[in-house]
Amino acid sequence: MASVDSGIRDEAAAFEPAPQVAPAAVAGRTHFRRFTAFQRWVHFFIMVSFSTLVLTGMPLKYSDQAWAQRWMGVLGGVQIAGMIHRFAAMIMVSCVICMLGFFTLILIKSKGRFWGPGTMVPNRQDYQDLRAMVGWFVGKRSHPHLELDRYAYYEKGEFWAASAGVTIMCLTGAILWYPEVAGRYLPGIVINFALVNHSGGALLAMGFVVVFWHFFHAHLRPEAFPMDKAMYAGGLPLEEYAHERPLEYERRIREGTLDEVLVAPVSEARMKVQNVIWWIITGLALFLWVVFSLFVVWVASFWLASF
């Protein structure tokens, strides 16, 4: 296993043991397919529905605030906002169902893949990576170039946090959508629980998962800055990927499965069109991120003031 601590990142040094380029890569397929089209579409719909859910739900949580009342007026009132919120919720639930189906397929097709290397299940390596990073944060060691497999510890952590969050939000949201049905089978206090958890869970999801965690670690950390295009373009240059996620690269070479994930880069002409869309989406996402960040700062100031 490669050392976690290879000093301050140095492009030349990191490439010294030149990655073995598979024959297929030479034949024009120079990119590593990080995410399949299915995964990218699911991500897109989650991104859109999540933003919609936040924008239509948060004013209700902070209904005593003037900005919330103004924004609700812009949306056209509680009833319209509620309809949009439920529509977006259905999109998100569809995404969750798709992902559950996807995981089931993986479990059936390739036994053990769900918790082997390259999966979302945390392992000892993640713990070591986290320790190395915290050591660097507090100045006790130099910058570690993490020897990552398919997913880093911060991606796994986010995945499980988001999974727990979406489960809670779906269950409590369903109770709040159909409180009479819930009342047929469950005591009324469950509706109170649902209110508290839907409201608190929303803030957690928006603040912790999106503002603090996802945006930063996907796009703003030094290695990915200014934007990681993998989720948008699907493929990354093979050398880049091999440098960032050496464990998966080496594993695939060893297993002889690298060929499965090699793709040709998109053509120049298509890239031009895609770049326009990319900048629009990125611009919107960045704008929302700034709004959400300011919002979280505002909430945090409340939280601090309560002591």
């Binding site: 409180p179 206090i189 508290v196 603090f212 939280w303």
Partner: protein
Amino acid sequence: MIPRAFLTTSLGIALLAVVVLAAPAGAVQFSLAHGANGRCLECHSKPDLGTIVANGERKSLTVDETTWHDSVHSRLDCTACHAGFQAREHTAEEQAGWYQQARLTACSDCHADQFAMYSGSFHGNLVMGKNDKRAPACADCHGSHGIISPGSPEFRASVLTMCGRCHDEKSATYLDTYHGKSFRMGETSTAVCTDCHGHHKILPASDPDSTVSKQHVVATCGTCHDQATSNFASFLIHNDRSTPKSSLWVWLMEINHSVLIGVLFVLGGLHCFLYFYRGLREGLYHRG
């Protein structure tokens, strides 16, 4: 000798004349009445008209004409409610006497049904049985000169404030529910205080006749939520999340969320900030 026919004819004409003349006479009386209102407004439209009442406070006696004209009672005479007042400067006895009894009877002459319901209510009992000065009579909720239809959005929008004058704790917890939140967002079709608690005959939940008693609460919820069950109705509407006194479990859940949000925001924020800060310091953002 006057012919009988002449007598009957002239009597008929006279009777007809009375009827024909009486009709405009009635109209005259009507317009005179409005003239009488006009006479009242000669003084009562002055913005500085007022008097000092028993507790030493100044009470304005100005009637806003536009408010009055927009109210449901704009076609009534002033004296329909302010019975017994003469068109001259009113004596102190006249005024005090009227306020004492007219607080209720000014309305009950026309609205006998509502008054009967009110008399049996918790509020009515406080006012009439216990002489409680703080408990509301008709005008405390409906107003006086600017009375609007209780079904109108404007009236519904004002319900929370009027109940909240005494029941402020209840209105705070109400505002923490979906009803209250959408009410605050300007949705007047959502349930307000009176939709659940009733209006003229409000009774405490412990009274079996109350709309929110164990016996009736499911039916009350059912007026909007047609599939309401007793479980559904046991939802804690007036629940204060910030104290364990309302519901221990809801409070614990709330605390759990606050701690979770606090810890995760701090840890997540630190992880991002230090990653960013160290990366910036070590030039990791400057690439080739």
